[in-house]
Amino acid sequence: MELQKRNPIVNWIIKSKALGILFFVIIGALAVFKLGQSLIDNPSLFLQQVINGLQLGFVYALIALGYTMVYGIVRLINFAHGDVFMVGAFSSYYAIARFNLHLWVVALFPGVPVFAGQIIGTFTVIIFSMLICALLSFTIERIAYKPLRNAPRISALITAIGISFFLEYFSALKFVFSSNYITYKRPFDVKTWFVGPGGFGMIETGIAPPKGSIIFSNIFIIIVITSILLLFLLQYIVRRTKIGKAMRTVAYDKPTARLMGINVDAVISITFAIGAALAGAAGVLYSIAFSQVFFFMGITPGLKAFVAAVLGGIGSIPGAFIGALIMGQAETMAAAYISTPMRDAIAFSILIIVLLVRPKGIMGEITSEKV
């Protein structure tokens, strides 16, 4: 009866959800307008930002994978993950600055070309950090999370926060990593190239590249290659190996997995270790890119990667990857065209808006397989 009395315009508004859609259309149009304007104004600057965003996005992706795997398997937001990333960065710093781990090829086989030796050395450092982080995360899981497996979920969350505090402030002690900003020595020589209307070539020191060209360095190439390699490795482990199958099973249904003879605790520990290894690799790549390490460095990238994981649909591996790429783009675009100090706020605004449209994240419901 009430429906008949209503004004037809009001009825239409309610039926079509016009106002809510209008709200999003306005926000989306503003963003598209701003980005389009920037692209037309200065295409090379815009593409340069895309490159920078990709570099950041691939690092975030590696961290986000750890968040998403752990959440998928034990439903825990592992707040200590960002600090594991920090430990990864520091262990690579010590491996390079104190033990010259990146020079082992050159030292053992003097005939090897310098460049090849450096690349192999860099990968050695990355693998070293991955091992350290995997070990650390394995220990954390055994000490702090395993005893609480049957306790309310919030207890494990509080423990995760506690572990995060502990790693941060313990690292800040003088005899551990100290509370200073430390300059990071890159394990290879940085080379930069330009590409654009002026052609393609290497940038020599002291000579400016032609106007309107895009600059990228071997840092970018190493980050992208390492991330993609690790992503494929992870996909292989999850999809093709026995342990991956076990992980998917445990994520799907723990009690049944146990009945099928799967050692659930071991699988969970391995998941933590794999996630942490990826974070360790991300720590090395991040420090190579920004050439600086300090004890709080895990908080912001960790948070961004977490946002990326949620944005992509937490629990989904491709989702984490897509979310991280979006996050990287959003951060560089926001810093370049809106305001540098506001970029954290913009990252979270994007998250909230995306969650309103897709409450389980971008890939949240499409992928049925969750790890």
Partner: protein, 418 residues
């Protein structure tokens, strides 16, 4: 006296006794300024945590946004008193007073309107509310600027002390009201998300507020807030009396709320959302009202906090610190008012007081190394919190018992997992 039960009488007597003893200790100087500040901070933290306990412990909404509303309350209140004491005008007071009133009126009016449009989706409703609130704020700013001079003149006729106290009380209350109104707007669309996603969105809110405060002077023109340099020059007028008064008020309000039909609806949503809906409870409405009340307390506490040290910095409301109320609530026992109050006092006394004194010279930085270890050990030994379900008799009488010791606090989240 006939209407008072003995529990109530005992509670009031006990509160007055506790207040009086500490007040005497502070006045006579047995508790020095250091411990006085810690006690006030503990009281403020107790109010924030009680707000969170209402949202998370009693209604089952996993919120990490409490410190965002705390920050809003703190900066709102600080701005009002700063303008009164340093700039000698009531511009802040009158603008924010009218903003609080008009926005409240607008929300209620739109609430009636939206209530008539049955079947309206949440986002459209949010868009209507947002538009209405923006209009109300613009009008409030105009009225506030116009009435600023007469309000200043009126307050100037009063003795200085009384005028300052009036401005201070208005500031604290308005801090709470503004925080509550913002929480209403923010909560409206967010409640459609699942429990963990709700937590993440509210965490995002805290971080957005922190970033906005970092840039408050350069981007938003609030020169007096000084952005990331920290706001100074706020009068230090929060005494133990005011902290205790507001803490008492909070406990009584929460107790009475839980005793009402609202409280039973709130707790029933924690126990089982589907069953609550089946019983005819408007889940979205009660979730929102709980969130608003919890945020109101956070805002009040923020107003009190701003006037303790006379200094505010956005880093106080950072990502790391925003876990403090959650830690306190879980520590004290989810859904235990007594536990929350005890835990916040214990937390502040141990972390700020005892650890500072116990650690030897040169080991000050170990404070935050010992704290997480304590946290870990406590969590491993008592996962259900220090007090679990324990309540003092005054509150115990009204709270429905938890369904099962561990499962109930977790029911909202485990449902999603299943």
């Amino acid at each position: 006296m006939k209407h008072f039960k003995s529990n109530t009488l005992l509670f009031i007597l006990g509160s007055v006794l506790v207040f009086a003893v500490i007040q005497v200790l502070i006045s006579t100087g047995i508790l020095n300024a250091f411990w006085g500040t810690i006690l006030r901070l503990a009281g403020v933290m107790a109010i924030v945590s009680l707000g969170l306990n209402l949202i998370y412990g009693f209604n089952g909404q996993f919120s990490l946004g409490q410190f965002g509303f705390y920050a809003i309350g703190a900066y709102t209140a600080a701005d009002i008193t700063y303008r009164w004491t340093q700039l000698h005008n009531a511009l802040g007071l009158s603008v924010i007073l009218f903003a609080g009133l008009l926005v409240g009126a607008a929300i209620m009016a739109i609430g009636v309107l939206v209530g008539k449009m049955r079947g309206l989706d949440t986002l459209s409703a949010f868009a209507i509310y947002l538009g209405g609130v923006l209009v109300a704020v613009l009008i409030a700013i105009r009225i506030g600027i116009l009435t600023s001079a007469p309000v200043t003149a009126l307050l100037a006729t009063l003795p200085e002390n009384i005028a300052l106290t009036i401005v201070y009380l208005f500031a604290v209350l308005l801090g709470g009201i503004i925080a509550a109104e913002i929480s209403f707007l923010f909560g409206l669309p967010i409640f459609t998300l699942g429990s963990d996603y709700f937590g993440i969105a509210t965490l995002g809110f805290t971080i957005i507020i922190k970033v906005l405060l970092d840039n408050s002077d350069t981007m938003f023109g609030f020169e007096e807030m000084k952005g990331a340099r920290g706001m100074i020059g706020i009068p230090k007028i929060t005494t133990w009396f005011w902290v205790f008064f507001f803490l008492f008020f909070t406990v009584v309000v929460i107790r009475n709320l839980l005793n009402s039909s609202y409280g039973r609806a709130i707790v029933s949503i924690r126990e089982d959302e589907t069953a609550a809906t089946a019983m005819g409870i408007n889940v979205a409405y009660y979730k929102n009202i709980t969130f608003v009340i919890g945020s109101l307390f956070a805002g009040l506490a923020g107003g009190l906090y701003a006037h303790i040290n006379g200094f505010l910095h956005p880093n106080t409301f950072s990502f790391i610190k925003s876990f403090d109320p959650l830690i306190i609530v879980v520590f004290g026992g989810l859904g235990s008012v007594t536990g929350t109050v005890a835990a916040s006092f214990g937390w502040a006394l141990v972390l700020e007081g005892v650890l500072r004194l116990v650690l030897p010279e040169g080991f000050e930085t170990w404070r935050f190394v010992v704290y997480p270890v304590l946290l870990l050990v406590m969590m491993l030994l008592k996962p259900a919190g220090l007090f679990g379900n324990f309540e003092i008799p005054f509150i115990r009488a009204v709270i429905p018992p938890l369904k099962k010791k561990d499962e109930a606090v977790n029911s909202a989240s485990s449902k999603e997992a299943a």
